[in-house]
Every structure is written in C-alpha cells, then in structure tokens.
Amino acid sequence: MPPSFFHHLHPPTIPARQARLGYTLAAGGLAVFLSLLLLVTGLLEMFYYIPSPDHAAASIQTLTFLVPYGGLVRNLHYWSAQLLVVVSIVHLLRVILTGAYASPRRFNYLLGMGLLVLVILLDFTGYVLRWDEGIRWALVTGTNLVKSIPLVGNVLYAILVGGSLPGAATLIRFYGWHIFGLTLMAGILLGWHIFRLRRDGGIALPPPALRPDHTRITRFELVRREIFAMLLATVILLLLSTFASAPLAAPISAANPVSESARAPWFFLWVQQMLKLGSPFLWGVVVPLAVLVIYSLIPYIFPKPIKADLGRWFPKSSRFAQGVALCILLAIFTLTIMALLPSY
C-alpha cells in the first residue's frame, strides 16, 4: 500500500520507544486531535451563535435544544475543550517528569507553554461567550483582575472590556479573540510546535549509541496507533456529550445580583481560592504569572537531565525540576479542592 497524505505527515519510520503509550501517554497526539475537533465543532457552532448580549444565551439555547444534534455538537465542543486542558497539562507533566525539555527541545518547550496559555485563554473566552448568569462572576472578577495591575491596568481593561463595565463591546471582543485572534495564534504555534518536534528529532530519546534497543516502527503502524487513540477518544467524547450536558444558565439580567455561589471555571478555581487571601493583584495576577514563569524556566534554570536518562520516567538527573513542578501542581490541586469545598 503506498503511503497516503496522512501517512506522509509522519516520518517513514521512528524508534519504537518514541511511540510507547506508557512513555508518551498519547497526550500530544490527543491534544492535536482535540484541537481539530474543536475547530470543526466550533465552526459548526458559529452558524447559530449570535455574539450580542441580547441574543447570545438565547442562541446557545436554540442550538442546544432546538437544532437537531446541535446539543451534541455543543457538548462535543465543551468536552473537547475541557479534555484539551487536561491533556495539555498531562503532556506538560510528561515532558517535565521525563526530562524531555532538555536542549535541543528547550525552545519547543516554550512553544508548548505558549500553547497551554492559549488553550486556557481559549477556554476562558469560550466560557464567557455563553453570556449567561453562570459566567457572570468569572467575567466580572477576571476583568477586574486586569484592572488591578499597576500603571497599565486601566488601559488593559479598556482594551479587553471596551468600556467601563462588561457589555456588548466586551462580548464581541471576547468573540473576536476566541474565534480569530487566539485561534489563529494557537494554529500558528501548533504548526510551529509540530515542526520543531520533527526538527528536534522527534520525541526525546537518548542518542542512538545510548539506546537499549534499536527497533523501529513504520509510519503505517504509527498512523494505526494514532487512529486507535482517536477512536477511543471519540468514544469517550461521544458518551460524555450524550450523557453530560455542557453547563447553561439563564441569560444575564442586570436586575439580578451577581450570585455569591458563583464559581470560576474549574481550571481557575485555584486562582479564585487565592483571591480570598487578599490583594487581587498579588494573588490574582502576580502569583499565577509567577507559576507560569517558573514552569517556563524549568529547562533554563534547573540542572539539565543527562542524555542517557532520556526516554524514561523520573530520571535522577532532573529530580529537582520534577519536585518543583509537582509541588506547584499539588498546591494548585489543593487550592482547587478547597475552592470546591464550601467550608473554605
């Protein structure tokens, strides 16, 4: 069988160890697949979504309840987005905990960090597009955080919100960022990330001389594995989308007070929890940015993993970086749990 277009997107052969599920967790590949699914379902949603405060929530209700399979498309978009955040974080952790960020992959690691930030921003902007009571707290709090930044806060707020309060201008800006600005940037970074993956020699392994085995698999086998992972992911997404609907609430009504029981989207719950500690600028802006910076600097400031250690979990030579990453993640996880518990 001659290789098809899709086969040609892959190298003719790769070392078998680069494609072990136990090593890669298929996280990077799944992230690409989920991104494509998000693109397709998002394009379909655009036929019904009306980005104006008066119509946004109603148009989502129309899509969800009245358009045949519209609810399914929306649920697929929602669950793909949630899973993309999870899969991206798993991918990042895999890279850190196997020391795969080491040179020459340091720059691609940064591209990946950029993609993670874009995924979270895309998720947040998409969440805001619901424009219903469920997102109101997060919208008001999130945009007010921008205002708390010294010197440039008010300017940034004006650029982001387009007025003194969230309104029609805000919605169209978030819509623009979601469907165009952030998506375009994510597309470019994703292409670059995959290009660098090939350029840097594929998934991290020790140099050939230090490899324990030299078996290789063909791109036919690689594509089969990818299809297998995609099929299973689709099954999970379909079942999630069929039996667990994406959240919806009543349209925003100025008459209603912002609900006190409202929560941030789950991936920002840790920030919401920290905001209870005081200074919004410190806990809502500085600390999250510091977390981002620390993660981004891992390949640059921590001891470099030795080449022979690559391709394995928890290599000794990069334990310090692993410890730092896991501690921060544990803190984020704990804060998230605390935010979910009513007593905190």
Partner: protein, 419 residues
C-alpha cells in the same frame, strides 16, 4: 499494533454513535408556539401540552406562557426553563405581580378604565394586614390607639381618601411586647403578600391574585403532588365560598399562646357546619356565595389604604332589598361598552342585554348579576355556580324595620335561620 485493537475501537465508536443517535431520537420533539402578543417563539408546550388553558380571557395562542410566567422560552431542560420563572409556581405573587399581570392594557391600568386591579389589591387590607397588626399592637400596648400605622410592607398612597395615606413596614423584632413579636412570627401567613405556612402543592397558589382567582375545590391542602397543582392552572372570577374559606375559615385564635387553629375540614354542609354556633344568619349567608354580596372593592379594595374590614365593607341587606321607604338602586343598561358586559362576559352566569335594569350599590358598583324583573321582583345569578334566586324588595312587604336601622344584626332579629 494488533489489527483487532482497531476493530474493537471501531465497533466501540459505532456503538457509541448508535447510543448518541438513540438519545437524540428520545428527546421530546419541540412544540413551538408564537403568541400574538409577544411574537416571540416559545417551547413550553413541548412538555406542558396537558395543561388546561388558564382562562378564556387569557387564550394561550394570544398570551403564550412566558408573558405571565417568565422562564426561558427556548430551553427544553426543565431546570433551565423554570429557572427564571416569576414567583415560582405563582406569577401573581405580589412580589412579582406587576411584571406578570401588570401593564396599562392588562391589570395595572387606570381606575377610569377599571384596570387598576394591582394597585387596589396591593393596597387592600387583605395585602397590608394593617387592621390585624394595629389591633394586636393595641391589645398588647405597643400602640395606644387602634389606628392602622403599619402594614406587612411599607406603602404610601398620597391620594388616599380614607385618612390613612401611608403605612410603615411592620417589623416584629422592633416590638416591645413578646406577644406582638410572637404574632409577627406565627400569624403573618394568611394575607395576600405572605410567605404561606407551607410550600408545595396548593400552598404555592395562596398568595397574590391566585389566592382568590385560582380556586382549589377539594381538600388536601398538604398535597405536594405537582400533578394536582397543574390541575388548578385556572384564573376565574367565579370564586366559590370554599376558596374564601381557606383563609376565612372559622378557625380559632388563641391570644394567650398567639396561635391560630385553622379548621382542617372544608365544611360540606354550610348550614350546619360553616358558622360558629352562636352566629345569626339568614338564607343569603349560606345559600349564596361570598362573592355574590361582597363586591370587587370590598374584596380587593378601592385603591385607598384602610385600617379595618369595616371601613371597606359597605354592602348591607338593604343594598339588594332596599328599605321600607326605598327600593334598591337600579340602572338601566344603555351603553354597550358598560363594564358590566365585560364582567358578565368573563363569568357568563347571566345573559345581560342592553335595556336590562340591574342593581347597583350606594358607591356605584354594579351588581351585574342581579336584574330587575317586570313584576317588581329581582333575579340573582350566583357568580360561582350560576344558581338563580328570585327575591322581593322590602318596600311593600310586611316588614316593620325602622329604615334608619339597617345593620345586619337588626335584620337578623327576624330573618334568622334556625339550625
């Protein structure tokens, strides 16, 4: 990778696609309705097609559901669809009545157009409870006269001609007497703006307009059965005495413990069960419905603030029967736009025609269900069930009652039913 892995994954996908399609097919097919008054499509009938039309004057094709009830017109998820309903199951609750029932063309128009029902009902003593509050505060020395000063909510009616132009909000926690405080805790469940004593079932309808206009005929008030509740999706002016009896039900007050023991039964035999043993009454009180005598302003107020029931109730025996020297007041209908035709149309117990002569009260309220007959008698059609009664005027009868003494006690000296 083994080939059967892919086969297994493909079959799983096929199966989940079938499950998804099956779930999609199971979804209720949307039933659209675009009410002419709003022009906005709503899908409530997808689930609520079994609900009876609320009244002939609120046809569902004209009003739809959302105009009165609120809610999310496009949502087919029950929780979301119901999340923004006004007043929960009772859009006529006084906290939301203006949004649900109001509007210049609906029930908050002008007094001249006889559409100021919300203003009248929310200022009536049934809503303010001003009389009960004044009297209980007076009884326990928290105020030194019986003048109404406080209501369930603060309200001002600057144009009120009754002598009371404002009521402050009654706050039981600010009262000195523990009895008045207890009254505040226990006894504020029986007025039109109350938080009912219980929730669920028919209790959801016991405030606002529906407390009277959504009659619950039969007994089980504790039923939280929503099916039973849907059966009373009804607005009517044909209000049977059983509905009045839900609150005005001859239970017993106990001022020592500040409790009220309501009657739990709905008396089936009004003659024997309904009135207190010592009550004196005549056939009108047990054969007619409450609303046959107690007019709309008596029950719903006239837009002024009052302090006691006596200040707003004015119907006497002579309103219909006249006195020895006077016949009851009458009016011959000459205007096809007369309000009485609208009333008779809403509750068609009588076939009123131009040229008919009907009774009206000293305050000018039409007793549109009572018509003068050519032989000098009058026919009344009961508003709740259409029953016909023929009665004579006092004038020309053998009655010897002094025309200046016309309170019911005087009439009941002779005209009293024995049980």
């Amino acid at each position: 990778m083994r080939r059967h892995y892919l086969l297994f994954a493909s079959l799983s996908l096929l199966l989940s696609l079938l499950v998804t399609a099956w779930q999609e097919e199971r979804r209720a097919k949307p039933v659209a309705l675009t009410p002419t008054l709003t022009g906005r499509v709503e899908y409530c009938l997808t689930c609520h097609s079994d609900l009876p039309q609320v009244s002939n004057s609120h046809p569902v094709k004209t009003f739809g559901c959302v105009l009165c009830h609120g809610g999310e017109p496009l949502a087919l998820d029950a929780n979301l669809a119901h999340s923004t309903m006004r007043g929960g199951k009772n859009p006529s609750d006084f906290s939301v009545v203006q949004a649900s029932c109001g509007g210049a063309d609906c029930h908050s128009g002008t007094a001249e157009s006889n559409r100021n029902h919300i203003q009248r009902a929310t200022t009536s003593i049934q809503a303010t409870y001003a009389g009960a509050i004044a009297h209980i505060r007076y009884a326990f020395s928290d105020q030194l006269d019986q003048k109404a000063k406080m209501g369930i909510f603060a309200i001002q009616v600057p144009w009120s001609t009754s002598g009371i132009t404002e009521l402050a909000a009654f706050d039981p926690t600010m009262e000195k007497s523990p009895f008045v405080q207890a009254f505040g805790q226990k006894c504020l469940t029986c007025h039109l703006s109350a938080q009912p004593a219980q929730t669920g079932g028919r209790y959801d309808h016991f405030t606002g307009c529906s407390a009277c206009h959504t009659p619950t005929q039969s007994a089980d008030l504790s039923s939280a059965d929503t099916k039973t509740a849907t059966q009373i999706h009804m607005l009517t002016t044909a209000i049977p005495y059983t509905q009045c009896d839900i609150c005005h039900n001859r239970g017993n007050y106990d001022l020592r413990s500040i409790t009220f023991q309501p009657r739990t039964d709905l008396p089936a035999d009004r003659l024997h069960d309904y009135y207190q043993p010592i009550a004196q009454f005549t056939i009108c009180e047990w054969k007619l419905e409450c609303v046959d005598c107690h007019t709309r302003t008596e029950a719903m107020g006239d837009g002024n603030l009052y302090g006691t029931k006596k200040e707003i109730q004015y119907i006497k025996c002579k309103t219909c029967h006249g006195t020895l020297t006077e016949l009851p007041r009458t009016r011959t209908l000459s205007d096809p736009n007369d309000l009485v035709f609208r009333m008779a149309d809403l509750n068609p117990v009588i076939d009123l025609k131009l040229g008919d002569t009907i009774l009206f009260t000293e305050k000018g309220e039409a007793l549109w269900n009572i018509r003068a007959l050519p032989d000098g008698t009058y026919e009344m059609f009961s508003k709740a069930n259409g029953g016909r009664f023929v009665f004579r005027p006092v004038k020309g009868s053998g009655c010897t009652q002094d025309p200046s003494k016309q309170d019911s006690g005087s009439c009941h000296l002779c005209h009293s039913v024995q049980r």
